[in-house]
Homo-oligomer: 344 residues x 2
């Protein structure tokens, strides 16, 4: 399984196919096998320009950012649908796309289906915190959620934190507007009661907006609306605050500008910590295969990082482990199935 290449959508995204070819070559050099999925005629000259030869799977169509996500249903020759087909046919171990994220999700659901026990797949994102990286989900796949969806996100997030963040027994926080169980909206009040009773989830209780960067818990569970607003606020604020620091240092008197020269490298490494391109692509948890979604603005470095992230997931059997944990959850919710299970 881990010897199969990763199918990279070489067409979806702002800087494709150039960034895809460059990033895939860098991944290849690091031992990550990649198959480029896209327009063979456009890819040929880029590949001919030198560097290692990479396999190409032709796809004659591409879903653009402005297209409706549901078009994947009848555009089977689109690069993102071809990626999913390779995974489904057992010819690729994962699919990675920097294109239209709604279309990627629709294509994954259509081609690979959902894991048993998952009603809604979720995008999980990793946020740097004071206590190291933490997982936030759903980061935007489901704008409206029910309590049971948040419960499934908590199970999937716990597995993700074990596999990706090396946490032996990760804590899960429910994003709300007060630490007390009785603070929240209708969704979180009901989800809180459900999470308290969920086997396999080490539930910390409610967490607040300030807890995300503080890293109060390993996993932050929320609906896809709130999660997407949080992710984009966190990224945007880092950009603005580091910009303010840069401007304050550049416009000060001579001794401040001298000081700024001396501290510049230290500040630069901090900025890269908050740069979304450093992770490259985020897993779509809950579909029947390894699927990764990146920013449309991805450059070659982001493509390389996204492929490396996908390769870690493949090597760690992320999807299989998710499937097993979800079966446990389903069994514990169903007494008959519970009785049938082998004792663990």
């Amino acid at each position: 399984m881990t010897h199969l290449p990763i199918a990279l959508d070489a067409m979806g995204g702002d800087h494709m196919p150039e960034a895809a070819v460059l990033g895939a070559r860098q991944a290849h050099e690091r031992g990550i096998p990649v198959v480029l999925v896209g327009d063979a005629e456009r890819l040929a000259p880029l590949l001919a320009a030198g560097g290692p030869e990479l396999p190409v799977e032709h796809a004659g169509d591409v879903i653009r950012m402005g297209d409706d996500a549901t078009q994947v249903r009848r555009r089977k020759d689109s690069s993102v649908m071809r990626c999913m087909a390779l995974v489904k046919e057992g010819r690729a171990s994962a699919a990675v796309s920097m294109g239209h994220s709604g279309a990627t999700m629709a294509a994954a659901l259509l081609s690979l289906g959902r894991l048993r026990g998952v009603e809604r797949p979720a995008i999980v994102t990793t946020i740097p915190s004071e206590r190291g990286p933490v997982a936030l989900l759903d980061a935007g796949a489901n704008a409206d959620c029910r309590p049971v969806h948040l419960q499934q996100f908590a199970v999937m997030g716990s597995i993700y934190a074990r596999v990706f963040l090396d946490r032996a027994d990760p804590t899960v926080g429910l994003v709300s507007i007060g630490e007390e169980p009785e603070k929240g909206n209708e969704l979180t009040l009901a989800a809180h009661r459900l999470l308290k009773e969920t086997a396999g989830v080490r539930f910390h209780g409610n967490v607040e907006g300030r807890d995300l960067l503080a890293g109060t818990t390993d996993v932050f569970v929320t609906d896809g609306f709130t999660g997407n607003v949080m992710l984009k606020l966190a990224e945007g604020e880092a950009r603005v605050l580091f910009g303010w620091v840069r401007d304050a240092l550049a416009s000060g008197p001579w001794h401040v500008r001298l000081g700024a020269l001396l501290v510049r490298p230290a500040l630069r490494s901090l900025r890269s910590r908050m740069d979304p391109h450093s992770i490259g692509a985020q897993p779509l948890l809950g579909v029947g295969g390894n699927v990764f979604i990146g920013h449309g603005s991805a450059d070659a470095t982001a493509v390389l990082n996204g492929l490396a992230t996908a390769w870690r997931a493949v090597s760690a059997n992320l999807t299989d482990r998710l499937g097993a944990a979800l079966l446990e959850l389903a069994a514990s919710a169903d007494p008959v199935e519970e009785a049938r299970r082998e004792p663990t």
Copy 2:
């Protein structure tokens, strides 16, 4: 009206009554009249210790952070309820409390009622952005909202931006998960359609999490759950990022530490820009009087700043102007009343 003092809840909050007395004295020295509302026996020695004499209105009870907000109904002698009574009786121009914010809201609704046309009062908060301060509401008063509530927040936020942020014709953004009108959750999809048709609101369209610190619009409208998560995330992230900057500079080699010494004052002024104490208290928009809610952690400086904010609102007739704008909205929604209105 503007000669009436501001009623300050001298008991509610972590550092009361000491911070209240100190802050009120500093406000008094700047020409802002204040009446301290709280336990006269506890206040007397603090006032006797020197400095200008301030009027005291006795309140024998105080709502604590752990109390249920609805207790204000039967605890009429609590400091927060006494503050509202002073406003209602025309003996104070505004009420300011750093105590239990839910109790302050409940007390305000119970004593002062709502402005006509407002179903749900909202807490508005000011966020520093790249383009200057912007307003975010609701910051936590209403965890679950309907589209019409967001419409009323947009009207109130527009008036607030005119009066407090000096914007002649403020733009309003609806917080969502994509710029396109068809992106969002059920609440924002319906609110988007409503806001497009709302007279008196210059609707920009959807905005995203990243737009808050970028200051894309003057007003950001959202439900109280999302708004509270955004506010606390923004404050918490600033604390963490500036902490990282401090640590990176303090732990570097000698030339970095030298540079850090030189840039320290420039960075300190940046940090204060993101400090919630610099505003002190936020208006509760939509109740029948000027009511301001501050952080429980408020110190004397936060009390002073909160009193100054309240004094600006009183001087600018914020509540009267809100009332007039809301009547306009109600009239435009009602064709019969519309026909009765004077042409503008």
